[in-house]
Symmetry: C2
Subunit: 262 residues, 2 copies
């Protein structure tokens, strides 16, 4: 069993600081967030530049080498709906410490991001959705099959080259859909597929003191069901401890009394 992959989510255009840094091509605060996440244990750094319709290509051409130069070529997740921007990023990406991840394809309009990832020999996140979020596991399975076939036709190894995202649904409002979410992670795990998701979306709208408790429990349950990676805030020490502990219980890493500090 391979190690659970932590994808750091803190370089995101939704942050005003990052938004301004991207707009003014000021790499320093972006590099800073990459470094702190790597120090906290992130395996990959997600670089979400937003839709970036106008200048996405320029931004990726600039930020990917800047980030990699400053972080000894940390592995990156290129995150935007602008496919040309992702291509531009892949062209300048150095895979020495890990293949790039394209974020993301889906079973609808963004199916061709699978081809893009195949062209560059990298990994792609496949969202199990088409227009909206999946209504049930029948829909998830339909989208999974669509992307599996497409990936195989493109020459990919679907067990290694695609991380399928079952899509976390907000508990407050879709409480009755969480069991299905966990069941689908298990289904994918039993199929030998890798998976990822944005775990903390599930606790959206809950009181501030409740959210971390929900995040930790859902994280443990998801890893128990077979989740192999997640997009999250690696500075959340409690959540990182939950991940490390899950890895110990499932025997993916060897126990030592100091395992939380490693």
């Amino acid at each position: 069993m391979s190690k659970f992959l932590v994808i750091g989510e803190r370089i995101h255009v939704i942050s005003p600081e990052i938004k301004e840094a991207l707009a003014t091509r000021n790499a320093a605060p972006i590099i800073e967030r990459a470094k702190t996440q790597l120090e906290a244990g992130a395996d990959y750094i997600d670089v979400n530049i937003g839709p970036a319709e106008r200048d996405g290509v320029d931004i990726m051409k600039w930020i990917v080498p800047e980030l990699q130069a400053a972080t000894d070529n940390a592995p990156l997740v290129l995150d935007t709906v602008n496919q040309n921007a992702i291509r531009a990023g892949l062209e300048v990406y150095n895979p020495v410490n890990g293949r790039a991840i394209v974020n993301s394809a889906d079973a609808g309009d963004r199916l061709s991001n699978i081809d893009l990832a195949a062209e560059f020999g990298c990994i792609v996140i496949g969202l199990l959705m088409k227009k909206g979020v999946p209504r049930d596991n029948e829909e998830r399975d339909e989208y999974l099959q669509t992307m599996l076939e497409h990936a195989m036709e493109a020459g990919m190894d679907p067990a290694e080259d695609v991380f399928f995202d079952p899509l976390t649904l907000v508990i407050k409002g879709m409480q009755e859909k969480q069991q299905e979410f966990l069941d689908f992670i298990r289904t994918m795990s039993e199929m030998g597929l890798k998976s990822t998701c944005g775990l903390s979306n599930a606790s959206n709208g809950m009181p501030k003191h409740v959210r971390p408790i929900v995040d930790n429990v859902l994280c443990a349950m998801s890893i128990g069901a077979g989740l192999t990676s997640a997009i999250l805030n690696p500075l959340d020490k409690e959540l990182m401890n939950t991940i490390k502990t899950s890895e110990i219980i499932l025997n993916h890493t060897l126990y030592a009394d100091s395992y939380l500090d490693i």
Copy 2:
């Protein structure tokens, strides 16, 4: 899906205070521990009087009515290897708020505790062991079948009247056996069987600051796999929050912003 049952573990002869109270027939500290556990959310109170070979019958005859009188007939788990003592406790037990639970039968010498429970129409905890702890899930399954058959022959409904305990194993030393433990909980859940276990045993021997993290993660994973009850310390608020949150995620209780305080 029925609510997860919390069995409070704090009345245990291993505690010097409880040991002395049992020996001197001083009910007050025992009643106090029952009350605080019930206030903290325990559904059942385990009453572990130890082997009690000499005076187990007397102790149970005395403590069961004392406890029930002081707690508006709280449901109890009668916990000793002395079968006569359990019988004596069952004879004076008031089931108005929940059937008594016999703790415990196993697939070996204590198989006849199933008959005792059947005779009194109560619940029995069936440890999936014979001489020692189960080596693997093949052994767990063998012991499960033995107890299932015995319970059915005794006229019990094995889906309602037996809580099967897969036996928590210490992670430090048996790290590679935890996945099997979780798998067996899932197997039992899929068979429609109820389950219980002493969760915190798994973290025995770990550093003090690590144990609660391990307890919480294993608890979430176990409930995610289908565990329906556990014997634990209900005064551990973090663990109780994990249980409540697991119940929310699995849609066993309805979400409200205040669910942790309910």
